[in-house]
């Protein structure tokens, strides 16, 4: 049978087209295969894993998997960031740059013109324009969530080179940047109220002062006929004039005799015994009927039913199944993960340290909550790690950092917050968290083959925080800050009573020392250049001379000038100098927000008793690998180049470090 000429031409064209498509497909597969080169890199990012504690626990046989990894591969101290704060440190790791280039200097930054403080890593704003209709505010456009970290993240570069990657809860990635792989935002992700976490405590105890406490709110309730009716506090309702907080009612029916109660929230009902936690409870806040609802999740803890009613409600987390703000890439990933492992904390700092500090939760209750956080992380790890086949797998654990902060006092008899009875009961709690992290490593190590590089690292180590140094009080006492006539005591707003026309320097944030520079600050008086440098040198000299009157210890061991420590376009937008405190000392809680407590040095009796916001040389992190690390003193800025190098990708010109596996 012969085909007519026209049909034969069409057949040849069709076959040719099919052949071309097949060749294209095969080429794509080959190119993709070459790009990935079947290498695997596993990174366990363990916030606050301290090299000294790790060495101790490995020596005591409590962390056998870490000991095996250190023996088979390498264990180094990892030079941390300046200052050694998590958002700064993780930004160094993410970008391979220092703060002068990525622009994150602290947890909080200030607008030099208005002295308004804001979160350093992200900015969430409502719509810019709106119209008012009676008590309603109708937005014209949508709001925005913007990440303030500059520079390319290592997984962006991996995406460009088609290297598959997974990044779980890395700090300083809220809202998550656009990515091809799955990412979930971590530290820096707010709760539904837009804060770093605001708990609520409901009580009928008349001695508990109602109102805001640090990191939370105390609400007085009345128990009427064994029933408590109150409201959950949601986000501010920007659809309403003056943006009052949105609320959702709930009731608690307390048994007249037994220590047990039934809670009713929306159409959900559950029973809690005294001392019991609920699971995650979804809550919907109505901002505007029909169109403006936001969903959150929270947990309840029934602390006491009789004689006093005491109920703790966790910060309302963004619901991962229906997030009100972007928290993952792809956007549906947070929901998919929730389907696999159940609801989980989405708030960046998940451990409720503020509730422990405020005395709303005690050590036992805080530890229960902290264990829940780690259990959720491990559940996510167990769900995702078995799926890892190629490329980069990054997984973050927060437990050693937050629990290092809160539990240090239980292992430190010199801490002003030390309590022998509590130490006897919970003194091993921090160690147990370290052991759990060792178990995670135990799950990873059998999957490490010749084609896999394993990096276990921390952003910084830890040190005791026994005494607070109030930098602003010291600056005031030494004539660098002037207050307005008649100002005394503590102002409600940061720097509210400061006379800027006579102020030359001020402290802000955990390590920041700023000069009041003409042209930069609203009422700056210090000329930049030589006068500013001279003033900084003078202050540095005096600060380094400060000794603790109790034992003569040096309080501040190092001060780095931004001009020397940082390079890059943002180097002059942050602090002018970074104050490096000695082990045992840290900036006081009030001074970091621009207040002036009476004493320059104070004992730290707060449960927050371990810290790392000090002299960066005193709190290095750790770096362990199954491969030999060539670098003698690796730094956080070396990690991004190391990751890229593992896949044959050259580091970008802005990256400071180099692969830790290359000799220097």
């Amino acid at each position: 049978m012969t085909l007519p000429f026209g049909k034969r031409v069409r057949l040849v064209c069709l076959l040719g087209l099919c052949g071309a498509a097949l060749s294209l497909f095969v080429c794509c597969q080959l190119v993709r295969g070459r790009a990935v080169s079947s290498r695997k890199l596993i990174i366990l990012g363990i916030d606050g894993l301290d090299p000294d504690l790790l060495t101790k626990f490995m020596g005591e046989g409590k962390m056998p998997n870490f000991a095996r990894l250190a023996a088979q591969g390498s264990f180094r101290r990892l030079t941390t960031s300046i200052p050694p704060q998590s958002p700064v440190a993780w930004s160094n790791l993410i970008t391979g740059m220092n703060a002068g280039e990525h622009g994150i200097f602290d947890f909080i930054h200030r607008d030099p013109k208005t002295f308004q403080l804001y979160f350093s890593t992200s900015k969430v704003e409502g719509p810019k324009r709106s119209i008012h209709l009676g008590s309603w505010v109708i937005p014209l456009g949508s709001g925005s969530a913007e990440q303030l970290r500059h520079g390319k993240a290592f997984w962006e570069i991996l995406d460009e080179h088609r290297v598959p990657n997974y990044v779980y809860r890395i700090p300083a990635n809220f809202p998550p940047i656009a990515a091809k792989g799955k990412t979930l935002s971590g530290m820096g992700t707010p709760d539904l109220r837009g804060t770093y976490g605001t708990f609520t405590f409901y009580t009928d105890d008349p001695t508990a002062a109602a109102g805001a406490v640090e990191g939370g709110e105390v609400i007085q309730v009345e128990v009427k006929s064994n029933r408590v009716a109150s409201d959950l506090i949601g986000p501010d309702n920007t659809f309403r004039k003056n943006a009052p907080p949105s609320t959702e009612p709930f009731t608690v029916d307390v048994d007249p005799l037994e220590p047990v109660a039934r809670l009713s929230v929306e159409d959900q009902r559950f029973i809690l015994k005294e001392g019991e936690w609920s699971g995650w409870v979804p809550v919907e806040f109505e901002l505007m009927p029909v169109i403006g609802n936001v969903r959150g999740i929270c947990r309840f803890y029934l602390k006491q039913t009789h004689p006093r009613f005491q109920l703790y409600v966790s910060p309302i987390n963004i619901d991962p199944k229906d997030p009100a703000l972007p928290i993952s890439t792809p956007s549906g990933y947070s929901r998919d993960l929730a389907r696999q492992i159940g609801e989980y904390h989405t708030q960046g700092i998940a451990e409720d340290t503020k509730a422990l500090t405020a005395g709303v939760l005690d050590d036992k209750e805080y530890l229960e909550q902290a264990h829940t956080v780690l259990t959720e992380h491990r559940r996510a790890f167990d769900a995702e790690f078995p799926k890892f086949r190629e490329g980069v797998f990054f997984f973050y654990f927060s437990s050693l950092d937050l629990n290092g902060h809160m539990l240090w006092r239980l292992t430190d008899p010199q801490s002003p917050a030390y309590d022998a009875a509590q130490a006897a009961q919970y003194g091993s709690a921090l160690e147990e968290f370290y052991e759990q992290i060792d178990q995670v490593l135990g799950e990873v190590m059998p999957r490490v083959d010749d084609n896999t590089t394993l990096l276990v690292l921390s952003d910084h180590g830890f040190a005791p925080y026994r005494h607070s140094f109030n930098l602003n009080t010291w600056l005031l006492n030494n004539g660098y800050i002037a207050r307005k006539e008649g100002a005394s005591g503590e102002a409600s707003e940061p720097f509210a009573d400061v006379d800027w026309s006579r102020t030359r320097a001020y402290g802000l944030g955990l390590n920041g020392l700023y000069l009041n520079v003409r042209g930069r600050e609203r009422e700056g008086i210090v000329e930049s250049g030589a006068p500013a440098d001279a003033l900084l040198r003078e202050i540095r000299q005096k600060l380094l001379e400060i000794r603790d009157p109790k034992d003569g210890s040096q309080v501040i061991t190092r001060i780095d000038f931004a001009s020397e420590a940082y390079q890059g376009p943002y180097a002059r937008t942050g602090p002018d100098a970074l104050v490096g405190y000695n082990r045992g000392y840290r900036a006081g809680w009030k001074t970091i927000l621009g207040a002036f407590p009476a004493d320059v040095l104070e004992d730290n009796t707060n449960a927050w008793s371990g810290d790392h916001c000090m002299d960066f040389t005193k709190v290095p992190g750790v770096l362990l690998s199954n491969r030999k690390i060539a670098a003698v003193s690796p730094a956080l800025t070396d990690i991004a180049p190391t990751i890229l190098s593992e896949f044959g990708i050259a580091k970008t010109k802005d990256m400071m470090g180099q692969s830790v596996f290359q000799g220097r």
Binding site: N226, R227, A261, R269, F270
Partner: protein
């Protein structure tokens, strides 16, 4: 084939995709869509409906054609309104024939697909609501009412455990227990109040059993729609016994939804397709 193999084969079939809740809803929607159309066709005056629809179309056409002649347009609008009324009148009787059996069918299906059984070891609430008579009217004072509630007791089979003391809620005349099932199965819970006992069925597991969320005293219509258990005796001090079974969500394209929404959408689509195929006027 041994008995065990038989049992395994049956179990495999029961959990196969063909018998999943989604498959059941899809098949049911197609069948119901077809039945609705056929029933509508038989019980309606097809010629009259066709005539009414034609007239409506004609008036709509008139509105378009004579839009420059206001009196004609206004007259056509009036006729459209009247025609719509006539059409609704013609459709009402057959819709009634369709709606009643469908509603009863949906009530029955909801007992299987509306909720999931209680997962093993997951806490659930058993709420016993006492009648006004037993708790208040007969009680001389509030303390006696509380006393009546305190005397309500619960007897559990060994597979069900109590995980918290009961909560007595005076304001609602309720006693609530938190329980958990330790093993798959259907069990009976026995509640004793004022010397009289009543039982409540509870399903634990992951199967597709017929679930009754509540057992009621009296309240015929409510019982018809929400209970799959016999009524509580008229003289029982207990007005209702309920269990908070979890709602069942059927996953479609990554979104979970109640079976009724899916059924509604699919049966409508099926109805429109079958109407065209069978040439039935709706």
């Amino acid at each position: 084939m041994t008995m065990v193999a038989h049992a395994e084969a049956i179990a495999a079939f029961r959990f196969s995709p063909l018998t999943s809740p989604l498959a059941i809803v899809v098949v049911l929607s197609l069948v119901v869509g077809l039945l609705m159309v056929v029933l509508f066709g038989y019980t309606s005056d097809q010629k009259a409906i066709s005539r009414a629809k034609d007239q409506l179309k004609a008036h709509l056409l008139a509105v378009r054609l004579y839009r420059d002649q206001i009196p004609v347009v206004m007259g056509s609008y009036g006729k459209i309104l009247r025609g719509t009324g006539s059409y609704l009148k013609l459709a009402f009787k057959p819709l009634l024939y369709v709606i009643i059996p469908i509603t009863l069918l949906m009530v029955q299906i909801d007992r299987y697909l509306g909720q999931t059984p209680l997962p093993v070891n997951a806490p659930f609430l058993l709420t016993v609501h006492l009648g006004e008579q037993s708790s208040n009217a007969k009680a001389a004072d509030a303390s006696m009412a509380v006393d009546a509630m305190n005397k309500v007791t619960l007897e559990l089979p060994p597979e069900i455990t109590m995980t918290a003391p009961p909560v007595h809620i005076d304001a609602d005349n309720e006693v609530v227990w938190r329980l958990a099932g330790t093993k798959d199965g259907e069990y009976e819970l026995k509640i004793v109040a004022a010397g009289q006992s009543a039982t409540k069925a509870v399903c634990v597991g992951s199967d597709l059993p017929r679930i009754s969320t509540v057992r009621l005293r009296g309240r015929f219509w409510e019982r018809m729609f929400s209970s799959a258990e016999p009524a509580l005796p008229e003289k029982s001090p207990i007005e209702s016994i309920s269990i908070n079974y979890p709602d069942r969500n059927i996953e479609v394209a990554g979104y979970g939804m109640n079976w009724i929404w899916l059924f509604f959408i699919l049966s409508m689509v099926a109805g429109f397709i079958f109407k065209e195929l069978l040439g039935i006027q709706i």
